[in-house]
């Protein structure tokens, strides 16, 4: 084992240049973290391996940055060219010096009066191209910033926040376009996925996630409810450069809990859609939960992996769906390869070969309340998942339990809340959850670490054989990726909700994560083994 002392090398800020080629090869660039999901396949796997089970006990904070007013932070920071870039709530964003954690620049915009959102003014991160950074603001705006100064370069209105639209997801850069998802299904909106020119901010295409009459899928809405049919796209998708397809999960149909006003399957809600990256044209779709009435969005990370199933190699897309099943799809055709529950499920006895759930009776929300499992938040919710090619396992968190679902009636009023009821916890059912490792080719659970309450943090795996995640009680945790044994923890003092990242700085591996309103960078102090 070669050991070396770190030299004190001065760091100069260089002109950032995140080329499209660099993005395509981002998995090979272990020193940086260039996009929300680490690579276009959304693996969140770092090839760095200085930190492993032999030295994890010495992992310690090296700096902490306090982003006042930016909590809660659901962000995944980007790291390149000596800087860390991250977004916070309420239209905050920052660039930090990797050496010290000190602020280099800051971006802030007041949240306009009248912005509505189901879940606060959260934001999940930047995208990068060239020397530009792209982020959405909560009021359904997309902005481009100069990565060197934070100066706004252009700003585009994605849609009208007064109608209930908002934006929270990290954009995805594909070639020279910025792909953006929308939120707002609780307000009677009609969802979409947009493409914007990275240079000018001009919109190139829009794919509506709710099919209109006359369009393919339009006959799955038996009334005019499609006009306010939901189908938000509030979590970042993934991209296969070889197939030139963008994969994006879509949210629940609206209104959430009362399906009486929207008979039919309600395409393309609760689905995975594969879009031609240049035109936004739909190549295929797979609907996980037809006519959903439990708010089980299918927006969870679409993770692109090549699997061997029945001896055959297949380009797959895997997802831990909020409806309680883990899926593997053929990402070329959209055909289902495997589906298996990872938590207690009472609404379906299974998924048939065509990919359609086999429904069980008595599960729909009612005026007096109906118990169904999983609960409103899933199963797995939006938090980043991770695939490790080292272990071959797919990692995610799950809320394990049931809830009582209620429905109600309400007149639709433009721009107003239109969820038509909610779900409540069941008395005496203590909130439990788990961190789960699943074999993606079968859906079989390999290990499960039971947690107190639902897991809150995103996942990061490393070539050191580790899985990092955080919990709502403030613990940042490292597990052995193969066994699920907790190896290390640190109490950060704030709930961990976003995605951890790993990067190399001055030859040393760092792990960074947002906790509460802080960003904390961890490393092993002293000399580092050059593995």
């Amino acid at each position: 084992m070669k050991l070396f002392a770190l030299a004190a090398v001065p760091i100069f800020l260089v002109a950032a240049d995140v080329s499209t080629q660099r993005l395509v090869q981002s998995q090979d660039d272990a020193a940086s973290w260039l996009m929300y999901g680490k690579n276009y396949g959304a693996w969140r796997y770092s090839a760095l391996k200085q930190i492993d089970s032999s030295n994890i006990a010495r992992l310690a904070p090296q700096w902490i940055f306090q982003a006042s007013g930016a909590a809660p932070m659901e962000t995944t920071p980007l790291v390149f060219d000596g800087l860390m870039f991250f977004t916070g709530s309420a239209n905050h964003a920052y660039a930090l010096d990797l050496a010290t954690g000190k602020e280099v620049w800051r971006y802030e915009r007041p949240v306009p009066k009248g912005v509505q959102g189901c879940c606060g003014t959260v934001n999940r991160g930047f995208a990068a191209l060239g020397s530009k950074l792209f982020k959405v603001n909560i009021e359904a705006k997309l902005v481009a910033l100069d990565a060197r100064s934070g100066e706004p370069l252009w700003e585009t209105t994605v849609d009208d926040f007064k109608m209930g639209f908002s934006t929270t997801a990290a954009p995805l850069v594909v070639k020279n376009q910025v792909i953006v998802g929308i939120a707002g299904a609780e307000f009677g909106t009609r969802g979409f996925i947009d493409s914007y020119d990275a240079e000018t901010g001009k919109r190139r295409w829009r794919f509506h996630t709710v099919a209109a009459p006359g369009e393919p899928g339009g006959d799955t809405w038996k009334s005019d409810a499609w006009q306010r049919g939901g189908g938000s796209t509030w979590v970042t998708g993934s991209y296969d450069p070889e197939l030139n397809l963008i994969y994006w999960g879509t949210g629940n149909p609206g209104p959430d809990m009362n399906g009486d006003v929207r008979p039919g399957d309600n395409l393309y809600t609760c689905s995975m859609v594969a879009l031609d990256a240049d035109t936004g044209q739909l190549k295929w779709h797979f609907q996980f939960t037809p006519h959903d009435v439990h708010d089980w969005d299918a927006t969870e990370d679409p993770v692109l992996v090549d699997l061997t199933i029945a001896g055959k190699k297949v380009k797959a897309l895997i997802q831990a769906n909020r409806n309680g099943f883990a899926y593997a799809l053929d990402r070329t055709t959209g055909k289902m390869l495997a589906a298996k529950p990872y938590t207690k499920v009472t609404w379906a006895s299974g998924i048939d070969k065509a990919g359609r759930p086999v429904l069980l009776p008595g599960q729909d929300p009612s005026e007096e309340g109906t118990v169904s499992c999983p609960g409103l938040g899933g199963g797995h919710n939006w938090q980043p998942t991770s695939y490790s090619p080292l272990t071959g396992l797919f990692y995610f968190g799950s809320s394990d339990g049931c809830q009582t679902y209620y429905k109600s009636e309400q007149q639709y009023v433009k721009g107003r809340w239109y969820q038509l009821s909610t779900a409540e916890p069941i008395a005496h059912a203590s909130g439990v959850g788990s961190v789960i490792a699943v074999d993606p080719s079968t859906g079989e659970t390999k290990w499960r670490f039971e947690t107190v309450g639902a897991p809150s943090g995103g996942m990061l795996t490393t070539a050191g054989g580790l899985l990092f995640t955080g919990d709502r009680h403030g613990y940042f945790i490292a597990f052995d990726g193969r066994s699920g044994k907790p190896l290390w923890k640190f109490q950060t003092g704030g709930p961990i909700v976003g995605g951890p990242v790993s990067y190399l700085f001055q030859g040393r591996q760092y792990i960074a994560v947002a906790a509460g309103s802080s960003i904390i960078a961890f490393a092993i102090p002293g000399r580092v083994s050059n593995k």
Partner: protein, 258 residues
Amino acid sequence: MHIGRTVLLAFFLASFANAQNPLQNDPAAADTGRGVFRIYCSPCHGIRAQGARGPDLTQTLGASGKSDDDLFRIISTGSPGTEMPGFADSLDDENRWHTISYLRSIAKQQPAQVAGNAAAGRDLYWGKGGCPACHRIASKGGRLGPDLSRIGSARSAWYLRESVVAPSADITPGYNTIAVVQKDGKKITGVERGYDNFTAQLMDTTEEFHSFEKADVVSVKRESRSLMPDTYGKLLSAAELDDLLAYLTSLGRPEAGK
């Protein structure tokens, strides 16, 4: 004396203090507000606002004398010293007014009277009931159970009755029972003061604080039961129970002194 001006000023101040809901003439506002209420408020106040861990708003709101402006402030910033959080970060102004429209539509002006004699209930509480061993009112009593100084305004009457006769039916968050077996075989049981994936904190029956790493002990059990005896339904007669409930529901209520 400038009575006229004084009266005018008082009227102006009263109007200001009682700012009206700008959506009060909007017939759909209560309907929207019900939807908002079910998402944000029902976890504590119940799906139909009839109370649980939070007050029964159908009963308490009408008699509280609170103006729309008061309600808007409470929903926005919470109520300091109580379990009521603020929602200014999660609900915009209009949705807070929608919620108030809904609450006004369901609030009864003549709340149901709690049977029983509060003065007799006070004697029971501080005497035969032995409640101060674990509960505090106005800084008097034990620390093991929840402070009851304002419990009448924080819980519905039916919930309080259930809490007295069946204390484990629903546990206030943070008051589960934690039972620890240490490596030397010693068992420590107490009321939860913290519980997460790796540690547990508790207060034992002598009000001593303990903190444990789960990995350092034989077992840690978090039990969904209360340490409070479940015998009050037998210890007290029906009339005594009514008296005790009358006393408890008066605690923290503005009309308690009437």
